[in-house]
């Protein structure tokens, strides 16, 4: 099921990855790749292994077997923060902001990952420290503006509305300057109209030059925004292709659409 390579090179290769927790096989020899500049959707019913795949990419879990390669280099054994520095950032299915920090500070933490000024630089306010602070603030405010959060920059993350918190998470991940942005159900808890707006936002994120891996529950939304889709079920990849191909794939229809509650 290879699609024509209309985007760029493969930036991430998820190569025959198996992940077991005791007797449970969360991922079973799953293989897929992500191309530069695309939005890859990952769908599947609850428990299909989508978030597990995410965690294998971002270093939260190490694969039992198989390999995750990013920009032609294996991610095996890398610390999680090192993986972020290589250029992979993520959001969380259940929002995990730094709640008692302001919106801006949340984004600054993301931007800080590209910097290296330490205690001594801070103490003596070295040019390096000042340059990096300026840069982080510029990047941070710009991203907040992009997300429509600029007016809330000084508010504590915990005090933001639910939707703003979701968007702040995306801004924070973008601030790390990733080549690959992984969004784990960013529209969870949104009403249909908000979801559509969020998908529009994700498209604009891609247009800024980010490659996006998107986990989403809602089939119709994924169809609208993604370039390609990978379908997981019970830890196995059952289909991969363009939205049109997926829509017509009998395995997907049987496994996923067939049990869609909307149809019942």
């Amino acid at each position: 099921m290879e699609t024509t390579n209309e985007h760029g090179r493969r930036i991430l290769e998820f190569d025959d990855v198996t992940l077991r927790f005791g007797g449970l096989t969360a991922l079973d020899s799953v293989t897929f790749h992500i191309e530069e500049g695309e939005i890859l959707g990952m769908i599947g019913p609850n428990g299909a292994g989508k978030t597990t795949a995410f965690n294998a990419i971002t270093g939260v879990y190490q694969p039992t077997s198989g390999q995750v390669r990013f920009l032609d280099q294996s991610l095996a054994g890398l610390k999680r923060h090192a993986i972020t520095k290589r250029g992979i950032a993520r959001t969380f299915q259940n929002i995990r902001l730094f709640r008692s920090m302001t919106a801006l500070e949340n984004v600054l933490v993301g931007a800080d990952s590209n910097h290296s000024a330490g205690v001594l630089s801070a103490l003596f306010r070295t040019p390096k420290h000042r340059r990096e602070e300026d840069e982080a603030h510029t990047v941070g405010m710009e991203l907040l503006e992009f997300m429509g959060l600029a007016s809330r920059a000084d508010e504590l993350a915990a005090n933001l509305s639910y939707g703003d918190q979701r968007r702040l998470e995306i801004a924070r991940a973008m601030a790390t300057g990733p080549k690959l942005l992984c969004l784990d159900e960013p529209a969870a808890g949104f009403n249909p109209q908000e979801k559509v707006q969020l998908m529009e936002l994700i498209r604009r994120v891609r247009d800024r030059g980010f490659t996006v891996l998107l986990i989403e529950h809602d089939m119709r939304l994924v169809m609208g925004v993604t370039d390609r889709i990978v379908v997981l079920e019970f830890g196995k990849k059952i289909a991969e292709g363009t939205p049109a191909e997926i829509r017509d794939d009998p395995a997907v229809i049987a496994a996923y659409l067939g049990v869609d509650e909307d149809a019942s």
Partner: protein
């Protein structure tokens, strides 16, 4: 429609939860307006006025043990000595606040670092060598910092309660070690630790005061002050006559550390600490090498503890022994941080001040001290969980919150995506 309906309900209920939270914050606001207003007023002052006021305040704080204001001044014991203790505990609290308040690492064995600083100074200046104080001080700070790294390297891999228990053990180990090690004086402790160097001529025995000049203290007849020549402080002699110079020295270090603390907190380092405290996994995934930053907080906190311990060792009595560093002191340090407000620099200063000062001021109620202290520690978290002086950002955020509410006319604006 099952799925969509479900999601809609989720969204609705989370919205309600957010409103509930905001409502709670509004209700709590009344209590804090005083502090908030003070802060707002301060921010409105022109820069020059702010600097002038700060300088004035600092001078006042320096002169406090000489002014000996009525009511505040302790009657039964030397006020200068009390103020030394106050400044020393404030310094400790500021250091511990980096560990507990900023990085969120519950360190219950901070007294161990305090002891290492004090003993390093004692060993280098009195017991096994006779270094001058200001040479021993940086070495003591360095040794303590290194001990912080040594302890942190294995232990900072565990979290929360486990770390608390490990550090608790560390404090006790240090105390037991110095009790049993003959090389550091064992139970006898270390005496004749030299004081910091004097400025001006040394005092001539038996009754000379030395120093460049003498500064009299004030005495008060009701609200009428007069000079008290019987209570002079020689400038600047670290001796038996007056404890005030020791207070000045600690206070100077405290001010220095407060500046440094502010610079570090307002930087990438400070943000990394807070992010780690808030959600270690999320911080790690946002590119924060959390272990390294936790270790850094631990080491810097330890260094300040060592600094304070070193100053304590060379204080007026010039004597330390293992009983100077009981477990209770660790608990007191932690209490100082929490009373003031964990994560707040000025909170640590206020907390340290209160915890050191109040028991000395109310010595006549000595039998009740611990009871009152315990009660206060129980009541405080209920009515003021952020401490007496919560972190400034909390105030700022609250102000922004209010402003937005005002702009929105208290109506909830329609939630918009993008």
């Amino acid at each position: 429609m099952g799925v969509v309906e479900n999601l809609r309900q989720n969204a609705a209920s989370s919205g309600a939860a957010a409103r509930l939270r905001e409502g709670g914050a509004t209700a709590g606001r009344g209590v804090r307006t005083g502090l908030e207003r003070m802060h707002d007023g301060w921010a409105r002052l022109p820069r020059g006025a702010r600097i002038a006021l700060t300088v004035l305040l600092v001078i006042l704080v320096y002169l406090l043990p000489l002014i000996r204001p009525p009511v505040i001044t302790t009657q039964q014991i030397d006020f200068g000595g009390v103020m030394f203790g106050v400044a020393a505990l404030a310094l400790v609290a500021v250091g511990l606040n980096i560990v507990i308040g900023y990085a969120g690492l519950l360190d219950l064995g901070y007294v161990g670092f305090y002891a290492i600083g004090a003993y390093t100074t004692g060993v280098l200046t009195s017991l096994h060598a006779s270094w001058p104080f200001f040479l021993a001080l940086p070495v003591a700070v360095g040794v303590t910092m290194f001990s912080g790294l040594l302890l942190g390297w294995p232990t900072l891999r565990v979290r929360g309660d486990y770390l608390a228990i490990v550090t608790l053990g560390f404090g006790e180990i240090i105390r037991l070690a110095v009790t049993n090690l003959g090389w550091v004086g064992a139970a006898r402790g270390i005496k004749d630790i030299p004081h910091p160097p004097n400025i001006g001529p040394d005092p001539e025995p038996p009754f000379g005061t030395g120093g460049l000049f003498n500064i009299p203290a004030l005495q008060w007849d009701g609200l009428v002050p007069s000079l008290d020549t019987g209570r002079e402080t020689p400038f600047l002699v670290f001796g038996a006559v007056s404890a005030v110079p020791y207070y000045w020295l600690v206070l100077s270090f405290l001010i220095l550390i407060l500046f440094a603390d502010r610079l570090v907190k307002d930087s990438r380092v400070g943000r990394a600490w807070e992010a780690t405290r808030e959600d270690e996994d999320a911080a790690e995934l946002m590119g924060v090498p959390t272990f390294r930053f936790k270790l850094l907080a631990f080491a810097l906190g330890a260094a300040i503890g060592g600094l304070s311990g070193s100053l304590y060792a060379s204080s007026q009595s010039g004597y330390i022994n293992p009983q100077s560093f009981p477990l209770l002191l660790s608990i007191l340090f932690v209490a100082a941080v929490f009373v003031g407000g964990a994560g707040s620099r000025w909170g640590a200063v206020v907390g340290g001040t209160l915890v050191a000062y109040l028991p000395e001021r109310f010595r006549e109620f000595a039998d009740w001290r611990l009871l009152v202290f315990g009660l206060a520690l129980m009541i405080l978290p209920v009515y003021r969980p952020e401490g007496l002086v919560p972190a400034r950002r909390t105030l700022r955020a609250r102000a922004a919150d209010k402003e937005i509410e005002h702009l929105e006319g208290r109506d909830e604006a329609p939630r918009q995506v993008v």
